[in-house]
Amino acid sequence: MDELSSALAEVVGAREVVELARLSGGASRETFRFLADGRPLILQRQRGGDIRDMGVEADVVRAAFAAGVPVPELVASSNQPSAVGSAFMVLTAVEGETIARKILRDDEFRTAREVLPAQFGRALAQLHTIDPATVPGLAPQDQVRMYRQLLDTSGEPHPTFELAFRWLEEHQPPPCPPTLVHGDFRLGNVMVGADGLRAVLDWELAHIGDPMEDLGWLCVKAWRFGSPKPVAGVGEYAQLIEAYEEASGLTVDPEVVRWWEVLGTLKWGIMCIGQANAHVSGVARSHELAAIGRRVCENEHDLFLALEERW
């Protein structure tokens, strides 16, 4: 940690780095917090083996900051191996809470819950104004094709998912201008304070696509964390859509949002298969991952509920 502290001091141009502490460590990246000459900063560093290019993510965060999206400010970044890590970003620390269940249940966030739906709509409208051409390396994604392939690779048969794929193909929304989408905009990936949205985090899944993807994903049942309210567990569809329309000047077709919500539910189901497969294949032996395989039927049930009377 001493070595990392001095490497960080050099990277951010500080005399002194203290209180370096690891916040979390996932399979592909680690997050640390530290004080650089008294300024609270966050380090995200990639482990070797992660195929994603953190340089692209850094460019996206910088572009989002410039577009006025509430995001941490990028202080330093590199995608070259160094004493700090195989690739890293240093960002300003934003205070608040990311844990969905706390945001949805704790009294402290009562006011935040009221303002979040509209704030989410405005933040999404803002981030969708970023010119994708300013972020080289961002790739367009055909999400239906991508998850079709993931399901096929898993080798697991799921009649419900086949029905959902058929519905998605038959109700494909009209094409739209290429837009930078966040790709994982939901509770858990936003910093929330007592006053509401403070920062949009976790931009590693950003890509070029349909802006309605972000709105639909935010409404997927898994991201309501047990709350009856459809938008991130805090609001109604109309609140999100009205705020988005007002800030963007665009007209939102709620059926297109629902299409993306259905695809999002299907995506999360396929991701659950992947997590269980990580255990079964021996990549990461864990009864927790194994149990996730039996949550796939929750997504299947959600798909039937979402498509009831829409087939």
Partner: protein, 112 residues
């Protein structure tokens, strides 16, 4: 007919689950307690599957037969290839019923 002595598989799993709930959950905290809770849930799921699994398997076989499919994989392929397009409402009804059976074992609270 299985040749094993009592306790049954279901009772053995139940015994381990009760131990986790009674002794492990109460003397752990944080991540270890969370993982113990996950283990309790997994064992409860296995108990439910041991209870209703054979009946569900028979019902599932009947549903597949009604649709003229050999197994789940065959059903998935035939939906994908459009071979069941002339009876989709029936297909959806039967597939949803199977999903509800899976939830009855995996997480019955989800059906509420």
């Amino acid at each position: 007919m299985n040749p094993h002595d009592m306790p049954s598989a279901e009772q053995l799993v139940e015994a381990v689950r009760e131990w986790l709930e009674r002794d492990v959950m109460t003397s752990t905290s944080g991540r270890l307690q969370f993982h113990a809770r996950v283990a309790v849930n997994v064992l409860a799921m296995v108990e439910r599957e041991l209870q209703v699994g054979p009946t569900q398997a028979a019902v599932h076989r009947d549903r597949l037969e009604q649709l003229g499919c050999a197994d789940e994989r065959d059903l998935a392929r035939r939906i994908r290839d459009g071979e069941l397009d002339d009876r989709l409402p029936e297909v959806r009804e039967l597939v949803w019923a199977t999903v509800k059976d899976k939830l009855t074992v995996a997480n019955p609270k989800y059906l509420d």
